[in-house]
Amino acid sequence: MGVIIAHIPKCMLKNPQIPLFILIGAFLCLSCVKDTNFDDADNIVLTPVVELDLIYFNLNASDFFDTISNTPRLQIIDTTEIKFLDDAFVQEDLERAEFLFNFTNSIPRSFQVGFQFLNEQNDTTYTTQTNVLAGTALDTETTIFTEAVANEEIMDLTRANKVVVAVTIPSADAALEGMLNLKSKTTYFLEIED
């Protein structure tokens, strides 16, 4: 003990507050972080499931007959951009998408409805289609079509930024009556890692 004291600088013996100050400072510096695993941050994955309305339409039976030329319009087509679909964020983080198309039909005709997804260059990247059951004025027919897109197909889907919707009727005349309605939504299953 005497040896230790002999090696303590005289200024410290004269000012005992110095070693005490150093001791407390050392205690504060010796605080530690333990029992933690910060590498676990690499395993953080956000998995939100987002539901968004997609498109809707309300077609009248008369839309399938051109009264000027008095000829049926057996296929009508429309296109809309879906600009966010080919965003880098969606391309990287979309794991799966589920489309739900809900048709209600009071036209006494069945329909074939196709959905063609196009990229910026108007090349087709993904297609799907469904048949809509014929209804009657008194009994509206409901057709629900779901399409799940996953794995490699999701890459095809997320290269598109527009969708072409084609509605085809087998036959039409001026007397045809009723409505074909569509409501739709997409469920986006995201996995956000980095």
Partner: protein
């Protein structure tokens, strides 16, 4: 979003009721105590702060979650831990960080027995409330939350980087009463704030038959005010950005003014009461200002196709562009460059102390002259602290024990209950070696065995030269 998680967790890791210096408050043996109470009894004749070392203060915390809660060794998946914390926290929980670096500090007693003090310090102050609803939306999405109004008003954040120039006077007006006042000029280098926001986002089943859902933003009014930020976008690299920001430190930023006031009153020879109000002032942001405001209501139902008859080569209707235009019309995002005023975070300190033991220096109590700058060797007391924050004041209560061991060594131990913890133990030591005055103060010492379990940590240290009477 993941990056936001990292930032929040990093804040939890580095940095408490931010700005509460409960250990230093009233510790008159260190010159910096006059910054916490301009009306403290100043014992010394002259002091010089050692430039850049006279006070270093770091302070950070989160009111509802610790680093260990997320990153602690556990068999439970980290994503489940984060999810459970998101639901456990409320929108009143917050993350704070404060850092102060004193560049220069000096004080002297005049012949008229007034103690003048002044200096410059730089301060970073950040607070973000936990936007719980937005975190749930980002973590879970909206599928399982039909009819739930996600509250956009939970977004509340302020960040300030400021240089403060101050000069104060302190005088004992009577045997029992010492008062002080400090004037401040603020040079704000950076400010980002988004507070008092309103609005909700709700996804609900469509009731009027248009489409499957109504995605509705109701009465949104979200504003982000910035100053000193817009011009940084033109800078190349971190070096240029840092140079530009630091260039505003010396009156180059947006200026403001404020005052601190304080007093010490000896109720009796043993009981002393103190109080101070700090940063009564505001910064007037007029330069390099950009304010972004989004206001309105809108219901999204998707895109309606109308299948117009088109001739060959005729372009179709730009539905998506029209939708974007419609949204921008209903909820326009305006960028304003008009100035704005931000109040400084007002702080209130108060204490009551009972002294006992010997009167330091061996003197006896002069009962005809109670309180005349005498120091009891030991004291116990209570302190109150409050700071004005965007969602209301945050408060802390402290009990403490202070002891002067020798002329050169004093210490103060504190027990604080605040928004972060009900068991915050702090300790401060002031040592004088010759004319060199050193102080060191820290809190949440009970968590020092594993600081990852602390909701907040705070540290102040400094070196000054003191010339006594």
């Amino acid at each position: 979003m993941k990056n936001c998680c990292y930032v929040l967790f990093a804040l939890m890791a580095v940095v408490c009721n931010a700005q509460n210096k409960q250990v230093l408050y009233g510790l008159k043996e260190t010159p910096q105590s006059v910054l916490l109470n301009p009306g403290i009894e100043v014992p010394q004749k002259v002091h010089f702060g050692i430039p850049f070392l006279s006070q270093i203060h770091v302070n950070a915390g989160s009111s509802g979650v610790t680093v260990f809660d997320i990153f602690g060794a556990s068999d439970l998946d980290i994503n489940q831990r984060i999810r459970s914390k998101i639901f456990e926290l409320s929108d009143k929980d917050f993350f704070t960080a404060t850092q102060q670096l004193e560049l220069f500090n000096i004080g002297w007693r005049s012949k008229g027995d007034i103690y003048f003090s002044g200096g410059i310090y730089q301060e970073l102050d950040f607070i973000s409330y936990f936007p719980r609803d937005l975190a749930i939306l980002a973590w879970e999405g909206n599928r399982d939350y039909l009819d739930y109004p996600f509250d956009l008003g939970q977004l509340s954040v302020t960040a300030d980087l400021t240089t403060v120039y101050h000069f104060g006077v302190n005088k004992q007006l009577a045997n029992r009463l010492t008062v002080g006042v400090r004037g401040k000029v603020y040079s704000n280098m950076l400010n980002i704030s988004s507070t008092n926001n309103t609005g909700t986002f709700t996804t609900s089943l469509d009731t009027d038959g248009v489409n499957i859902y109504d995605h509705t933003v109701t009465d949104a009014n979200v504003t982000v005010q910035t100053s000193g930020v817009a011009s940084l976008e033109e800078k190349n690299g971190a070096g240029e950005v840092a140079g530009s920001v630091l260039g505003r430190a010396f009156f180059g930023g947006n200026l403001g003014v404020g005052i601190d006031i304080g007093a010490t009153y000896h109720v009796s020879d043993r009981i002393t009461a103190t109080a101070s109000v700090l940063d009564i002032g505001a910064v007037f942001h007029t330069k390099d200002v950009e304010t972004y405001n989004a206001e309105g209501s809108y219901t999204l139902n998707g895109i309606e196709l109308i299948f117009p008859p088109l001739n060959q080569g005729e372009a179709t209707i730009p539905y998506f562009g029209n939708l974007e235009d419609e949204i921008e019309e209903e909820i326009p995002i305006d960028t304003l460059t008009s100035g704005y005023t931000r109040w400084r975070p007002l702080k209130v300190n108060a204490s009551a102390e009972y002294g006992f033991g010997n009167i330091f220096g061996g003197g006896e109590c002069d009962c005809r002259n109670p309180g005349a700058s005498q120091t009891w060797q030991q004291a116990v007391g209570v302190q109150y602290y409050a700071i004005a924050r965007p969602k209301g004041p945050q408060m802390a209560g402290t009990i403490y024990y202070r002891r002067t061991f020798t002329e050169g060594l004093s210490a103060k131990a504190t027990y604080t209950v605040d928004s972060f913890s009900a068991s915050n133990v702090g300790l401060g030591v002031v040592a004088n070696v010759g004319k060199l005055n050193m102080f060191l103060a820290a809190d949440n010492l009970l968590t020092y065995g594993n600081i990852a379990k602390a909701k907040s940590v705070s540290l102040q240290l400094g070196f000054n030269i003191i010339i006594d009477e």
